[in-house]
Symmetry: C2
Subunit: 220 residues, 2 copies
């Protein structure tokens, strides 16, 4: 609640350092220096480096969730619109625009190399989020569709979004900078990904990825 306690300043500094340097390269000395607190404060408040890391991850996830919440839907919101907004929110959380995406960097590390901090993250955030997506998709598919098919489509949605975050650095080597800047904004990617899924499910907006979903979004 209080925002300038010693604990909070350590958590903030630790998050940034762990995100940019990784668990091993980030040092307690560096974190404490950035936080402007004494070296022993970490031991005093968190016990050791590992427990500090776990708390920093939780802290990052809470922050991130507040910054890009899902919109509220009514019962009459059509599933296509929900899907489009879901994809947009997911991309916003992952690409963390605007500002420094240190929270997401930390979370990405945890996804690829899960530690003890992972379990809380999955149960508090990923599970419910995944469930919402499954519900949207099952509305759009024939009733009686097998669970694993719905799951596979859901993972197709998440996978496409995830890729742009995880491979951000590689992307700049595969695609020219100018093209990335003009054609790969969050809105454009969101429109394309939604489009792939909609067309795959038999809803058929035109092949060109931009206009239809962007228009749908404007209408919310």
């Amino acid at each position: 609640m209080n925002d300038d306690t010693t604990q909070e300043r350590i958590l903030q500094a630790a998050g940034e350092q762990f995100a940019s340097q990784g668990y091993d390269q980030a040092t307690i000395r560096g974190i404490c220096q950035q936080a402007g607190v004494n070296l022993a404060a970490v031991n005093y408040y968190f016990g050791d480096k590992e427990r500090l890391y776990i708390e920093a991850v939780k802290h990052a996830r809470r922050l991130r969730e507040k910054q890009a919440p899902l919109p509220a839907w009514t019962e009459s919101t059509p599933p296509q619109e929900k899907l489009a907004q879901f994809v947009l929110t997911l991309l916003q959380r992952m690409l963390c625009e605007p500002g420094d995406p240190w929270q997401t960097r930390l979370i990405m590390r945890e996804i690829m190399e899960p530690t003890k901090a992972c379990e809380e993250m999955v149960h508090e955030a990923f599970q419910p989020f995944f469930q919402i997506l499954n519900d949207i998709l099952s509305e759009m598919m024939p009733s009686g569709t097998a669970t694993h098919v719905i799951h596979q489509w859901a993972l197709s949605v998440i996978g496409q979004c995830f890729y742009y975050r995880a491979n951000a650095k590689i992307l700049t080597m595969l695609i020219e900078e100018e093209e990335l800047r003009s054609e790969f904004s969050i809105d454009q990617l969101s429109a394309h990904i939604t489009n792939v899924i909609l067309r795959g499910l038999g809803y058929c907006p035109p092949l060109s990825s931009e206009t239809p979903v962007a228009a749908m979004r404007r209408g919310r």
Copy 2:
């Protein structure tokens, strides 16, 4: 060429250790012990830890590429079939079946957190692979389709495959073990992903993800 020199044994051990422990946690002592060579051999052959790491990454990529090559296509091979086989090969490389996937683990680390070892990997492997996929897709789309649209569809293919590797640990927390075992084999995932793209592009196999592409693959 020779397979049991000191250098080769160090490279092998280094690959496994870097993959399973990460760059920092892997120790030169541990690598040399596993390789059965003296501690100073790393300095003698590779100079320092960083250069050893770079060589280990290159070594891993070369190994992996030989283990799952793309099939040879003739001019009459239909693009749908090429796409299906491309997806299958990509999944095989990423999920590294059968055997211990240490090569892929190493490469994944490098993708998410590129170091100096990355550039070689992108130019020698990712660029050409990405180009092949773009060629296949442009065959399947209206001529004159904008480059960035083709790129986006290509990334949709790669993104879906990538996800299953990068989030393997998380997946086991989102989906029950039994379902994963029976419905998420490489063949089944490959069929689903190919299906999403084919349907998205206007080729329309039925929604159920299994049969059509599996059948197509049997016919090669």
